[in-house]
Subunit: 323 residues, 2 copies
């Protein structure tokens, strides 16, 4: 596939931080930035911007906050043609946390929200666009929305100036036919806007679904190094770069990054194909029950987990530490 | 997807044996058979039938040979509606190794061959059909054949009584569009025959490609427990059963089998998403270089492997133990 409009965004630090509360070493983030720059990735997302009034900096690492001075220190001295991105959630960031773009190392601030909060998400997009940033709106968990809810949200969104809207398979529940249906729906409802795709790998479909979205016309595509991300993780950016025929992309620096940093990390924190996440994907459910289960002594008792989620009379609160 | 004609074949012991020379314990094979029977899997493939004159039984485990008395001992006392299958390769089995079907525990003997050997493959299919077995012909490595070669082979095959012909993505090199192209080609060239699909997971596309083949009309589909199989392995049968809506299939026994037997085994022998196999998949090459590399001290030096396979001046024989 070669289509020059396609932009690749790496979300390794941002989505991977959901596993380890963004406690990555500076070296890890710096080497990620260096390798992805060499690889020609268009956007590198370094975390969330969030208010320190809401998240305790003694618990969460610096990529939960993405303060501009931390970012400058990481990227200092590394040649890069990539743009920097961070993400914000509704209600978890304040306007004062976001500097004007011309004073910030970030070029893009992405907004994540649920369908019910689209108008709030648009307001946040407007705020960051007013400050000079590029933006996208990532509508999460649409596999759980009715068609009517989603159509209404997209109709509202069509009247705004948000330039990029993402199809997000938050629960790793979609098949390629679902992706095709949604990308076509978004394209039809949102004339003039660019469609993005962000997938999760619960059922080993993240890469396949991303390819399908590209075939269907999505031009913003997310990946992460070695698939890092909460639970099953995301679409592997090394697979994505091997698929895209654009000569500006280069696989080799990503392979080096994996062997030197991501493979060792994968032995300390877990992500990938893990049966409880496969089960939540099949059931189209939030991974929170699987996250809690993987943190319990029964973490490999897949049948127990399956029974809990599929047998109505079993009380799910029986899972210790349920988030 | 519900289509009653679809038959699921599990090849865990046969393809998984390529990792460990078929050195599975009797208990492991017996519990695999028990669980897959409970899961409602249509065919369970227990290994290869091969000549002991060609393979040393002190090196290869009993599932390299699949002698009828070994199989009877394994299945004895287990209630099952599943049929038993084994596979034969051209030139690696003799007629005297194969009893008449009414004296054997096997109902099916599958034949694997390359396009250039289709006539030999058909002769072997005819031999086992004459003895009373069901059969399939699995044409390997078609991602490396020219269209003309393949068309000629399929034309020859169309004139035979082989009932089932498989599209096999031996190198894990196919995208869903390739699968659609080949399934349609086989269906058009082979009227009256059933099409099968066997995938490899080098690029995390085994399940997605199997789903695509089913959508395109394939009715024999291979999977393996937890994806076990050489290198990246195969389509996970637990994913396949979760996709197929046929009430005769039951996911729960497979989850139990994974937690009790396949998860522990996966810590002793390796299969799954492993970068050197990803690279051979991207390059549409036999995994042999990756197999040798994973057995070398440099096994995690992905950049070295990538350079070896993509830089013409590097001598690939520099990989120690290259098979």
């Amino acid at each position: 596939m070669f289509r020059p409009e396609i932009k690749v965004l790496d979300c390794s630090i941002r989505d991977g931080g959901l596993i380890n509360r963004w406690q990555f070493s500076d070296e890890f983030v710096r080497e990620t930035y260096r390798a992805l720059s060499l690889a020609g990735v268009d956007y590198i997302e370094l975390g969330y911007k969030a208010s320190k009034e809401q998240f305790d900096p003694s618990v969460y690492g610096k990529w939960r906050f993405c303060e501009d001075e931390d970012v400058r220190r990481i990227v200092d001295g590394i040649e890069s043609g990539s743009k920097l991105s961070c993400m914000v959630d509704i209600g978890r960031v304040q306007e004062k946390d976001i500097a004007p773009q011309n004073e910030s190392p970030f070029q893009m601030i992405r907004v994540a929200c649920y369908v019910k909060d689209i108008t709030k998400g648009v307001a946040l997009c407007d705020m960051v666009m007013d400050k000079g940033y590029e933006t996208t709106l990532n509508i999460m968990a649409v596999s759980t929305n009715t068609e009517r809810e989603l159509d209404e949200g997209l109709n509202d969104l069509s009247k705004t100036s948000v330039p990029v809207v993402y199809v997000v398979d938050s629960f790793g529940a979609m098949y390629s036919e679902d992706v095709t249906h949604l990308v076509n729906k978004y394209r039809n409802a949102l004339p003039g806007k660019i469609i993005g795709i962000h997938t999760h790998n619960n059922r080993q479909l993240a890469f396949a679904n991303t390819v399908q979205a590209i075939i269907d016309g999505a031009n913003f595509v997310d990946g992460s190094v070695y698939g890092i991300g909460r639970g099953p993780g995301n679409c592997c950016i090394e697979l994505l770069l091997s698929f895209l025929q654009n000569p500006k992309y280069n696989l080799r620096p990503v392979l080096k990054l994996i062997q030197e940093h991501y493979l060792p990390l994968s032995k300390k924190i877990e992500w990938g194909y893990i049966i409880p996440y496969m089960i939540t994907g099949v059931l189209n459910e939030h991974p929170r029950a699987a996250i809690a289960f993987r943190d319990s002594p029964d973490k490999d008792d897949f049948v127990k987990f399956y029974d809990m989620l599929t047998t109505p009379e079993v009380d799910i609160s029986a899972v210790k530490n349920l988030a």
